[in-house]
Subunit: 241 residues, 2 copies
Amino acid sequence: MANVGESDKYLLNRHKESHFTAGEIVRDVIIGVSDGLTVPFALAAGLSGANASSSIILTAGIAEVAAGAISMGLGGYLAAKSEADHYTRELQREQEEIDTIPDTEAAEVAEILAEYGVEPHEYAPVVNALRKNPKAWLDFMMKFELGLEKPDPKRALQSAFTIAVAYILGGLVPLFPYMIIPVAQKAVVASVIVTILALLIFGYAKGYFTGSKPVWSALQTALIGAIASAAAFGMAKAVQG
Amino acid sequence: MANVGESDKYLLNRHKESHFTAGEIVRDVIIGVSDGLTVPFALAAGLSGANASSSIILTAGIAEVAAGAISMGLGGYLAAKSEADHYTRELQREQEEIDTIPDTEAAEVAEILAEYGVEPHEYAPVVNALRKNPKAWLDFMMKFELGLEKPDPKRALQSAFTIAVAYILGGLVPLFPYMIIPVAQKAVVASVIVTILALLIFGYAKGYFTGSKPVWSALQTALIGAIASAAAFGMAKAVQG
């Protein structure tokens, strides 16, 4: 019952693994939108608390969105890039270890399997099989010793772009009212209503996509926006004296 | 040579695994500081480009730091929290599968090892060993099938706090000149100098801690700050007309 015979193949096909794993693009969109909706919103609310005009609030808001999109986008790019570099370095290093100290690496495979209560006489054939197949052995070490997955080379740029665009789209929602309503004290009310609604909808979608309770996620997300803008409002008032 | 006998233990101890893996706290500090140094800096530079006074720039900057710290901190909290929830859900699910469809799960173990060119007669003993030890089998599936590590329960709060504090500390650097220099056009020059220096130092440290070239990392980090503030400056000027 322990080899991939016909019966197992049947079982494997019938049992579609549907464990949830948030796609990387979905994760990037979530990162960008949640900050984009929250920070410019809170900044604008804070400035209106300091009696700034719609025009200066809009200026600050647009400047923040530009800065945030670039900072998060390029930040995402560099993060994905260094992750890929890290993988390449570790791959070379592991390859060298397999070439130069194979007995030690074999002992590491043994150690990994021993952690799961597998006895030496039980895992010995597996360790020897890997030693006969250095390419597979290298993949095994990368995945099970270091827990590293081969990163997608296109990932870095895609991540940068996705986060930046998501941040801009999220950031324009709370700023829109200030574009059409010249009186900041009126614009801020519209901005709060529009943004809380957007946070609820976004939070719901986020919960749905990440497999947590959508309604709970919606409330949490809106609450963060509310707390952040309250803090910004308070700080702005404090600074203005 | 494939069991953890004395010789292997010796080899394992002598060969200290020094593969680099960025600590989670280091990663949180990097996330917080890099955005904290960049966004408030760019926002302040942008507003000074729109001829705002040091007082309004400081108000906007402080409001942004408060909003950003809360948004990123609580964001980090929820991210770590939902990661932990995700792990718990998958653990229960995997446990159920082991209880209800053990043959299918055993076939999955077989499939995982077969991917590395291990033959059925070689991995059969391992699969059977895991079947005899359901607890270890569960851990094996979590790590080898789903690639999930047991998250630290204290992680979520710690992450929130670390990111928020790092963001505030980073954000105060570019704002400091505006606190002591009332004329924005003079303060912005001091802010640019101080912040570019801070970005270079931070970027160097980041490179050092994440195992990439420090000097290269320092230049990249400073460049992001420069690009972000240039964009914010341009957008602010454009909005003001």
